[in-house]
């Protein structure tokens, strides 16, 4: 056990690409946790997708031993946090395991919205913040300007800012000294029943669920009987240990210490991030505060392109969930797409990651329906129905009105783009809140925007309209009544459920128009004219016609080459077999995929 006064628990808050992983690598290297030859770029990020996207999904914790200038040796626990808004709950749990945070900002880029959002979260959690300006050796670096920005947000003395180059190692020692000097040691009560917080968990094929814990009160011993308070699950501590960064078992973790815990539990669902672990025999009276059930924000139908892959998709989702308890799904049947699952995600990025992993790691070819949010339908009888899929929207006769989730959006932009950003957000039905000049050149804008408007390409639009300079973050807000309608798309008079969407009344025409035009292009001509219509209730708001096919015959049977001609026809027929029948209309799989692509 380590003397709590010699422990410093901290995390690094940074925007993507601002050098968090490089800084972590440098700290590990400097403190000797990793021999230089073992250094692998960005050691903390383990999954391929995370590496490619330059983000961290799963938090992790590494223990460093640092001999400070005062001659004492300190244990520094670097707790990694996810960098994306979709995972803000995980971020808050990780931050809660720390007493301090390094607010790391790129000397060329300045403060970004996500960083700021997480910094506010850290301040709200009572963390001590050390402002760090990174990449000071870049030719485009403006450390003074960025430092002024940081101080504008955090307050404090210009001398508080630490300048580093994580790449070259400049300033690392000053930073380590600041961690020791300025961050407080952990609190908590040693002589009280065990309370440790689970701030991360993941599934390992061999070990089952591995969780990262921070001991707040008491101590945890190897072999001890434990209880997870939120799920009321009891099990023994098979192994406890610390990450150096390799897993190293220990017999005991005391107050303020950070490590991992393995019990016999195999289902990730039973061990939740934010839960409190206590002693099964002498249980704590109350869990640590802050636990929340994972709450999906964005929903989409996932269907196997090949109907025969349904079971494989189910197995893949089951396996993914072992690792990701925030993923929820239930079977869904679409007339157009067959059997699949309606999945709930923490956000758009989470959705994309899940889809990519399903396709890449499980070799599935998927069709995803347009992402939707969870609406609330208020019925004439006073009851309320959750609507996670446009198909679930009750009939107009019983529907009084609909409310939709709003989110609190924060945008940080160079001031020259304020007008552009305002225009974009107004188009997205946003309501303006506060506006603050961080510096004369940088503005922080606050809005209330329907989540559904963020779900579609908002981030891309913001980036492209501000040449990549604006950044954004959002957090859940309240539900508000909106003038929403469901647009149905009919193919030859038959509604195609996969293409229906709940949209704002003023958007209905545009959505319908775009969809019917797209489908007219994508669906091959049939034996008869096929009307493609967009309808709100019984009212047709847009119509296109796929003209009947006129020519489907090739030239003569060349020099008697019947075999080749037959094979060609058979191949074509095979292609048609993969089409989905919607009523009497043959629709190729690609038409579904392309029509649902969000590229307006």
């Amino acid at each position: 056990m380590t003397d709590p006064t010699r422990i410093r628990n901290f995390s690094i808050i940074a925007h993507i690409d601002h050098g968090k992983s490089t800084l972590a690598d440098r700290l590990l290297e400097y403190t000797g946790a990793v021999a230089e030859r073992d250094m692998r770029e960005q050691l903390l990020d383990t999954m391929d997708i995370e590496r490619e996207r330059g983000i961290t999904i799963k938090a992790n914790a590494v223990r460093l031993e640092y001999r400070a200038a005062n001659g004492e040796t300190y244990t520094l626990n670097l707790i990694d946090t996810p960098g994306h808004v979709d995972f803000s709950y995980e971020v808050s749990r990780s931050l809660d395991a720390c007493e301090g945070a390094l607010l790391l900002v790129d000397a060329a880029q300045g403060v970004e919205a996500q960083t700021l959002a997480n910094a506010y979260l850290a301040i709200d959690n009572g963390l001590e913040i050390i402002p760090v300006v990174n990449k000071i050796d870049l030719p485009s670096a403006e450390p003074e300007r960025v430092s002024a920005e940081l101080l504008g947000i955090l307050g404090g003395d210009p001398n508080d800012v630490i300048y580093v180059s994580a790449k070259s190692g400049t300033g690392i020692e000053q930073l380590l000294e600041a961690i020791v000097d300025r961050l407080p040691p952990p609190g908590g009560v040693a002589e009280s029943p065990l309370r440790a917080m689970v701030f991360d968990s993941y599934y390992d094929t061999y070990r089952g669920v591995v969780c990262s814990i921070r001991v707040v009160d008491g101590e945890i011993n190897s072999g001890e009987a434990l209880r997870f308070m939120a799920t009321d699950l009891s099990d023994a501590a098979d192994e406890i240990g610390v990450l150096l960064p390799g897993a190293t078992p220990v017999t005991r973790l005391g107050r303020g210490e950070v490590g991992y815990l393995i019990t016999g539990v195999k289902e990730i669902d039973l061990i939740r991030v934010g839960d409190t672990v206590t002693d099964a025999a002498t249980s704590a009276d109350a869990p640590l505060p802050g636990y929340q059930e994972p709450k999906p924000m964005v929903f989409s139908g996932l269907f196997p392109a090949d109907g025969d892959d349904f079971e494989r998709l189910r197995e893949a989702l089951d396996k993914l969930r072992l690792n990701d308890s925030s993923l929820v799904y239930q079977p869904e049947t679409s007339r157009a797409l067959g059997f699949g699952f309606r999945c709930g995600f923490l956000g758009l990025l989470h959705m994309e990651i899940v889809r990519e992993r399903l396709e890449r790691e499980y070799d599935l070819d998927l069709v995803a329906t347009a992402p939707s949010v969870e609406y609330r339908a208020h019925l004439t009888d006073g009851s309320t129905v959750q609507v996670r899929s446009p198909q679930d929207l009750p009939d107009a006769q019983v529907l009084a009105d609909i409310s939709e989730p709003f989110v609190k959006v924060m945008v940080i932009t160079p001031s020259e783009y304020v007008g552009t950003v305002m225009e974009l957000i107004q188009q997205r039905r946003g309501e303006m809140g506060e506006m603050t000049y961080l510096t004369p050149e940088r503005v922080e804008l606050h809005y209330q925007v329907p989540l559904a408007e963020i779900v579609f390409d908002f981030f891309d639009q913001l980036k492209s309209r501000t040449r990549g300079y604006a950044s954004m973050d959002y957090e859940p807000g309240d539900y508000r009544r909106s003038d929403l309608v469901r647009v149905n798309i009919l193919l030859n008079g038959v509604p195609v459920d996969a293409f229906s969407s709940i949209v704002h009344k003023e958007r209905a025409y545009r959505y319908g128009r775009a969809m019917v035009e797209r489908l007219r292009r994508l669906i091959p001509r049939q034996l008869f004219d096929v009307p493609v219509q967009a309808a709100v209730g019984s009212r047709i708001i847009a119509r296109e016609t796929i003209k009947a096919q006129r020519k489907d015959v090739t030239a003569k049977c060349y020099g008697g080459d019947i075999t080749r001609k037959r094979k060609l026809l058979e191949r074509q027929k095979e292609g048609k077999r993969r089409m989905k029948m919607v009523g009497q209309v043959e629709v190729p799989q690609e038409a579904f995929i392309s029509a649902l692509r969000i590229d307006e």
């Binding site: 001509r525 006129r550 019947i562 037959r566 058979e570």
Partner: protein, 382 residues
């Protein structure tokens, strides 16, 4: 109107196809087995000798009712070389009296002397590769003749006493306007041929046209092709009988060789890349000239592959091939299976196929392949 019984009967006749692969240049849309003489000068005599050997290697068979020399450009051969091939066929199998002996010819090759001499060695039907009367269309198809050449070629054929003069047209070339096609059709009809064939330009893989289209050049347009086809059908009217999707003829002048093909009849195939159908087996020859010549000269069959079909496959094939005839095909088992299938029901409902007595026919010939695909997908009745 052609007599369906007479057309069906042709399927029982024996035919032979001779492939003459040589061309002075390869046309941009062509994917046949062709030897571009500009790139690969070749001795015709050596090839003719190889053909003679291949014919002599073929086991004994029935006398032939139809012979077709296709290509490539068979008209590049001398009458003497053509004569050698025909004699060889006659020696091995015999040519029946009144047999159709047909050659494909480029109009510029079809001089009065050439026509006359070929007639003398036994050719009695000529299919002229007219394609179009529009110079810009001809240029884009890689053709070098002009309108006057075609007029002369037709006159030469008549003077030499050919039984059938077929004009072969291509429609739907991207540079071809509707007016241009109307003019081509009028000009072709004006020459009073007793046989006419017209094919939609098709983008075949591996051709220069296919590469151009892939690189963004315009390809044939479905509606344009359909408009042009419909114009042709209307313009020909009752002058000639529309007996197959792409063929018109005076009754009795239908191409017997092609009728054999569509009627699932049997034919021998000789030469580079040639296809045969004998004793229920479909065969194909190698497509490379050096390989073909070497094999023959070593006394080895130039066959590159063969396909024997089961009973049900043959039945399906009978129907899908026969549906190309405007008179349709005897319904039979596969026809009945089609009509009983959901796809067949849809085709009936859409008026694409019709049942006339015991014959199943495609009422919208432009959709023939849509029907053929369904026929080929049919499973046999239990």
């Amino acid at each position: 109107m052609s007599d369906p019984g007479a057309l069906d009967a042709a399927a029982g006749e024996r035919a032979a196809y001779i492939h003459i692969p040589f061309c002075h240049r390869r046309c941009p849309y062509c994917d046949f087995a062709v030897v571009d003489l500009g790139e690969q000068p070749t001795s015709f005599d050596r090839y003719i000798t190889a053909l003679e050997i291949e014919i002599s290697m073929e086991p004994e068979w029935c006398p032939l009712k139809a012979v077709n020399l296709g290509g490539g450009t068979p008209s590049v051969l001398s009458p003497e070389q053509v004569g050698r091939v025909l004699r060889s066929l006659d020696d091995s199998f015999g040519l029946l009296p009144g047999a159709e002996v047909s050659i494909e010819a480029n109009p510029e090759d079809w001089t009065e002397q050439h026509a006359t001499e070929l007639r003398r060695v036994g050719i009695n039907r000529v299919s002229l590769g007219v394609q179009s009367f529009d110079p810009s269309v001809l240029a884009s198809l890689g053709r070098v003749h002009d309108r006057a050449t075609v007029v002369d070629a037709v006159r030469n054929a008549h003077r030499a006493g050919y039984d059938v003069v077929n004009l072969d047209l291509i429609f739907g070339t991207p540079v071809e306007s509707m007016a241009s096609w109307q003019d081509t059709v009028a000009a072709a009809i004006g020459l009073d041929p007793n046989h006419l064939s017209a094919y939609a330009l098709t983008v075949e893989l591996g051709t220069a046209l296919s590469r151009a289209v892939r690189n963004g050049a315009p390809g044939p347009d479905e509606d344009d092709l359909a408009d042009k086809y419909e114009h042709l059908v209307a313009a020909v009217g009752d002058r000639l009988a529309h007996y197959e999707v792409s063929n018109w003829a005076e009754p009795g002048r239908e191409c017997r060789y092609n009728l054999t093909t569509w009627g699932q009849g049997e034919y021998l195939g000789f030469g580079l890349g040639a296809h045969g159908h004998r004793d229920g087996v479909r065969t194909r020859n190698v497509r490379r000239l050096d390989v073909y010549l070497r094999r023959i000269e070593e006394g080895v069959s130039p066959e590159a592959g063969r396909e024997a079909m089961g009973e049900w496959e043959r039945e399906r094939e009978r129907v899908y091939l026969g549906l190309r005839l405007r008179a349709g095909v005897e319904t039979g088992e596969a026809g009945a299976a089609l009509l009983a299938s959901p796809a067949g029901q849809r085709l009936l409902a859409a008026g694409v196929v019709e049942l006339h007595g015991d014959r199943l026919l495609v009422a919208q010939p432009l959709l023939t392949d849509a029907v053929a695909r369904e026929v080929l997908a049919l499973d046999p009745f239990d």
